[in-house]
């Protein structure tokens, strides 16, 4: 019996020991084998981050004028972690605050509720530990009523915060872009790598987007350890914010202003003539570097509508076609047929690939019959046999039509890809692509269009994609088009595209030679890049808005050097001939733009080409592409005004006005001496910015040169040049700017 009792106790021992071993094993599994996973959970459990936004860098023009900077704003914020602990979750506090801010209690409560999957804005999607800004730009009285009665407004604070400011209003709005609250998606994807936080503002368009990583700086983070109830137990770590770098542009505020002004003037002229033109754009490039000196598109917008989050109504207005879609920049996001400005490509193709003789003459009939289609010379002119020089000066279409048609025939015409010509030469489209058409220029802005240059292979590809809809349209017609005749014409197009759209259309190929037709569309920026290549001797450059990135304390972080993206397969001799011909356009008798530039001083000889592109259902698009001075080109200027009329009539005067502002013809010069500043603006010890040394020296010429860094008031930028303030920029704010920008509250 004792043995049996002993045995039973042994069984109990075994049972107890095995249970304890099981516990030990489980403990090992949790603590040693899966510790890492749980450590992360524990970390996220207890650490809360409070973000101090970094000072966002400024965007400066080439003279150091701030295009985007910060201004201080009185902001009233509500700290939920304090307010929620008041009786009834702080209802009384909020009811007192709402009338002070001039909003309803419901509105205020909406602003401070936390965003979730189901709670959509208005709501707060930042950290619950961060005070929530409920009103920006409040008056001193409003702020004081909160500060002075702290006991009746627990958890409510009024602070000075920095918000984006655009001293020049709408100037260069498409280029500057804007900030938007970071999305959860972006945080998930890039949060760690880019340092986004829940309430970060990130560049959502324009330069703010492209150079966001430089401009944003690094937010300061205070890591708070909290307990289960969210009470702060300890401050675990504090990282101070690092200011973002300043971005220095090639863009010049004065030239930009003049460009936008010239476009606006022309649009109002057009409106006074009863034309429906509503949009216009222009590009000014440094022909030698590719630097974008100015780029404008009308209509534009005031980027400050995005400050603090854009309302849905405002956003709809910015994207409404009835307003001309102000958000869209026609200069680099829109493309159309370039008309005769494209003849630089046709000329180069004819000379380089088709053995056209620079010394020969070619017939320029007023009409040309090709495959049942009649091609007209512009306004039916028939100057007879002319040289290629003359053909460009007077803009003879039929000569270039013929070259393009011959190239199409040589590639097999409609019998493409069969028999004799298995591989087409594609002289015209290849040359167009060498000039930079049909692909993005590489501009440092997001959303650039690549335009289109369609060759035979592309045409087949496009047809493969679209034949379904073509054929459906051919069958069903266009019932939504009111005019029966137009609808029938559209249906016939669709019918043709359905049955033979894969064929490279001879008519369209011919029109390609004069910059028209369905196989070609270019953006004003692309055209400017192509003209810069002609002007600078054949180098295709990447257009760049940014010139350098300079840290807040003035160190040059990065200099954006000119980037070569290609070379024209055209001999220097041919390009010289072409430049001479383009000069003739604006100077010789019979030149299409001679009239426009007749009163221009000989010190600034301009070369250029007019373009008048036909658009179905609208007036012609007026183009002018140019460079100057002819002998040693510094600038390329392209202007484009859709739905206007002839190139010489509308676009060329705009370009002329821009040259006048640059060189100071009849006004003070934006660039005295005609060259853009080579040096970078200088950063003063206090973080403010002074113009580049060369400009400052000029500005103080005749006086004792006082370096702007020596303490006195910074030199106002508008005192540059010889005359008084430029009238267009009279309202320009002085450079003594609030030099900090916060990617602060929305």
């Amino acid at each position: 019996m004792t043995d049996r009792l002993g045995l039973r106790v042994v069984v109990l021992r075994v049972l107890v020991v095995s249970l304890l071993i099981a516990l030990g094993g489980r403990l090992w599994y949790l603590q040693i084998l899966s510790g890492d996973h749980y450590r992360k959970v524990a970390e996220s459990n207890r650490v809360r981050e409070v973000v101090t936004p970094a000072t966002r860098g400024m965007v400066l023009d080439d003279d150091g004028r701030a295009l985007v900077r910060n201004r201080t704003s009185l902001v009233i914020s509500v700290d939920r972690s304090v307010v929620d602990r008041q009786p009834h979750a702080g209802r009384a506090v909020l009811s007192r605050l709402a009338p002070v801010l001039g909003m309803s209690l419901g509105e205020l409560q909406q602003r401070i509720r936390f965003c979730t999957a189901t709670v959509k804005p208005p709501c707060w999607n930042g950290s619950p530990y961060q005070p929530i800004p409920v009103a920006t730009d409040v008056t001193d009285e409003q702020a004081l009523s909160v500060i002075e009665h702290a006991d009746t407004f627990p958890g409510v604070s009024a602070d000075l915060q920095a918000v984006s400011q655009y001293p020049y209003g709408e100037l260069a709005s498409h280029e500057l872009g804007y900030l938007a609250p970071v999305t959860q998606d972006e945080i998930d994807k890039y949060g760690k790598q880019r340092g986004y936080h829940q309430n970060s503002l990130v560049g959502a368009a324009g330069l703010e987007d492209t150079y966001d990583s430089y401009l944003r700086g690094a937010d300061g983070v205070k890591k708070l350890e909290v307990d289960r109830f969210g009470r702060v137990v300890n401050v675990a770590a504090t990282t101070p914010p690092t200011s973002g770098d300043n971005l220095v542009l090639n863009l010049d505020a004065k030239v930009q202003k003049a460009t936008e002004q010239a476009l606006a003037n022309q649009l109002s002229v057009l409106r006074s003539q009863g034309k429906s033109a509503a949009t216009a754009s222009a590009v000014v490039l440094n022909a030698r570097t590719g630097g974008v000196v100015a780029m404008a598109s009308l209509p534009n917008y005031d980027p400050s509508v995005f400050t603090g989050g854009i309302s849905e109504k405002d956003y709809r207005a910015l994207t409404d076609p009835a307003n001309g879609i102000p958000l869209l920049s026609r200069a680099y996001q829109g493309a159309g047929a370039p008309g005769s400005t494209f003849k630089i490509v046709s000329f180069s193709t004819a000379v380089t690939k088709m053995h056209a003789d620079l010394n020969g003459t070619y017939g320029c009939p007023s009409t040309l019959q090709i495959g049942g289609q009649t091609f007209h010379n512009f306004e039916g002119e028939a100057p007879g046999d002319v040289s290629l020089h003359e053909a460009i000066v007077v803009s003879c279409d039929t000569i270039f039509d013929t070259f393009a048609y011959d190239a199409w025939l040589a590639d097999g015409g409609l019998r493409q890809g069969t028999a004799a010509r298995a591989k087409a030469n594609e002289y015209f489209t290849t040359m167009a692509k060498a000039f930079g058409f049909g692909r993005q220029t590489g501009l440092d802005l997001p959303g650039e269009t690549s335009g289109s240059v369609v060759d035979r292979a592309d045409a087949t590809k496009i047809w493969d994609q679209l034949k379904g809809s073509y054929c459906r349209r051919a069958k069903n017609g266009y019932p939504e088009v009111k005019d029966p005749a137009t609808a029938e014409r559209y249906r016939e197009y669709a019918q043709e595209a359905c049955t033979s759209g894969y064929l490279y259309n001879g008519g369209a190929a011919t029109m390609f030679g004069i910059g028209q037709g369905q196989y070609l569309s270019v953006s004003p920026l692309q055209l400017a890049v192509a003209y810069a290549a002609v002007a600078n001797g054949g180098t295709v450059l990447k257009p760049q808005l940014a010139k350098a990135i300079v840290s807040a304390d003035g160190k040059v972080v990065k200099t954006l050097k000119p980037v070569v993206t290609g070379h024209l397969p055209v001999s220097p001799q041919t390009l010289g001939y072409l430049r001479d011909a383009l000069h003739g356009v604006a100077s010789e008798p019979g030149g299409t733009a001679t009239g426009v530039f007749s009163d221009f001083p000989p010190t600034v000889p301009v070369a250029g080409k007019t373009g008048t592109a036909e658009v179905e259902g609208k007036s012609d698009t007026s183009w002018f592409a140019s460079f100057a001075p002819v002998n040693n080109p510094q600038y390329v200027i392209v202007a484009s005004i859709p739905d206007a009329g002839q190139g010489a009539t509308f676009a060329a005067p705009v370009v002329k006005e821009i040259y006048q502002s640059i060189y100071g013809i009849g006004q003070s010069a934006a660039f005295p001496g005609g060259t853009p500043p080579a040096a970078l603006p200088r950063t003063n010890p206090d973080g403010s910015i002074s113009p580049p040394a060369s400009i400052a020296a000029r500005a103080t010429a005749g006086r004792v040169a006082v370096p702007a860094t020596s303490g006195g008031a910074p030199v106002p930028a508008s005192s540059g040049g010889t005359g008084g303030p430029v009238s267009a920029l009279a309202a320009e704010p002085p450079l003594r700017a609030v030099t900090t920008r916060l990617g602060g509250p929305r």
Binding site: M1, T2, R4, L5, G6, R8, V9, V11, L12, R13, L15, V16, V17, L19, L20, A22, L23, G24, R26, L27, W28, L30, Q31, I32, S34, G35, H37, Y38, R39, V41, A42, E43, N45, R46, E225, V226, D227, R228, F229, R231, V233
Partner: protein, 407 residues
């Protein structure tokens, strides 16, 4: 036997013996010499560790409330002092004399269990506490454990002393029925509180004592089968309160975060895993100091050990509990007569079941029940009862017929 071997190899014991040996002639039956010192040392270390863990677990909440950060430590020390007195008292009276008091002890525990239903206070869903002045509470169900063990040992071991020497008789059906009848009353009263965990302690104490007593195995097997069927029926027909059912069933689910019970276990497991091998250091566990684990000074105290003391400390607690149970089973085996064996067995089953369920619950492998970890968790009544349990073990040890040193 391993017990005495371990005893001899223990330096503490060796020194004790050495000093005694030098002082005066060691009496063969001297109390210090016959005490189970290894058991006492293990209990002492567990208790001290428990005090520290309770201190660490309650310090942040007292600090944020502006209270005395050592408030719980002080109360726990008072509890310990009272517990030591009770334990010594229990150890001092010859356990065979206890037999005479058993009916009285049993009746008093029943009265206390009834009283709690009338004047008790509800904490965490169980109506188990009688509030005393100065912030102390009494939990009669803890004392009922002691009372039940003694009472069952009386019945299941009663006749054996009356047998002629040499022949031992194991309990028969009548004894088993009487024991079950005795147990059902307090279990029913505790079920009314309801305190399902303590009822389960009773069930396993009864099973263990029945099995060791040598009662007919059909009773043991039958009771296990009945228990399983009853448990199944309870779940099937949802006879428990929803939170009780959730506690029972949730530990097998992977996604626990949906309920507060799941939250407790998740936070406890996170705390334990966060400790790693060597722990975060006392007062430095982030989960613990952030009070992420509810009830971390009582039912979830093991999570504090896991986070702040790491595998070394938490594993050490398991090891020390193993020492306590191993020694207690040796005492059971060496008692030399059934009454003592059964008392020791009952105490082992009680400690073992509570330890396993409590630690298993914080490790996510057992359902959540409100059972404290013996010697470690904060709680006056539990401390008193545990110390009385140790007193019972030493009592049996002191009066065991087999002299371990005579081997």
């Amino acid at each position: 036997m391993t017990g005495p071997d371990a005893l001899r190899s223990s330096p503490v014991v060796l020194r004790g013996r050495f000093e005694q040996g030098r002082g005066r002639a060691v009496q063969r039956h001297s109390v210090p010499r016959r005490l189970d010192w290894l058991l006492l040392v293990a209990v002492a270390v567990l208790t001290v560790v428990g005090l520290l863990l309770v201190w660490s677990a309650t310090r942040p909440q007292e600090l944020t409330a502006g209270g005395d950060p050592r408030a719980f430590l002080k109360k726990d020390l008072i509890n310990l002092a009272v517990g030591l007195v009770l334990g010594c008292a229990v150890a001092a009276v010859d356990y065979r004399i206890l037999r005479a008091y058993a009916p009285f002890v049993y009746l008093v525990s029943l009265l206390a269990l009834m009283a709690v239903l009338v004047v008790g206070t509800t904490i965490n869903g169980a109506h188990s506490w009688i509030l005393l002045p100065a912030g102390f509470q009494l939990q009669p169900s803890e004392f009922a454990k002691v009372a039940l063990i003694v009472s069952l040992a009386v019945i299941l071991g009663a006749k054996h002393d009356d047998q002629r020497s040499g022949v031992r008789v194991t309990p028969g059906d009548r004894d088993v029925l009487a024991a079950l009848a005795l147990a059902v009353v307090p279990m029913g009263l505790i079920m009314l509180q309801p305190d399902f965990g303590t009822v389960m302690v009773f069930v396993f104490v009864i099973l263990g004592m029945l099995a060791v007593s040598g009662a007919p195995s059909r009773w043991v097997v039958g009771l296990i089968i009945c228990g399983v069927l009853f448990g199944g029926a309870i779940l099937q027909f949802h006879m428990l309160k929803p939170y009780q059912e959730a506690r029972l069933t949730e530990f097998v689910k992977s996604n626990r975060n949906t309920t507060s019970t799941g939250y407790n276990v998740d936070q406890a497991m996170t705390a334990i895993a966060n400790g790693g091998f060597t722990g975060r250091g006392l007062f430095h566990g982030q989960q613990t100091q952030g009070q992420f684990v509810p009830e971390q000074q009582t039912d979830f105290v093991f999570s504090v050990a896991g986070e702040e003391l790491g595998y070394v400390g938490a594993g050490g607690i398991i090891l020390l509990l193993g020492v306590v149970m191993w020694r207690a089973l040796s005492i059971a085996a060496d008692a030399g007569e059934p009454f003592g064996t059964l008392i020791a067995t009952g105490v082992v089953c009680w400690f073992a079941f509570q330890s396993f369920v409590n630690i298993g619950m914080t490790l996510g492998i057992m359902p959540v029940t409100g059972l404290p970890l013996p010697f470690v968790s904060y709680g006056g009544s539990a401390m008193f009862a545990n110390m009385m349990g140790v007193g019972l073990l030493q009592n049996v040890r002191l009066r065991s017929r087999t002299d371990p040193h005579a081997l």
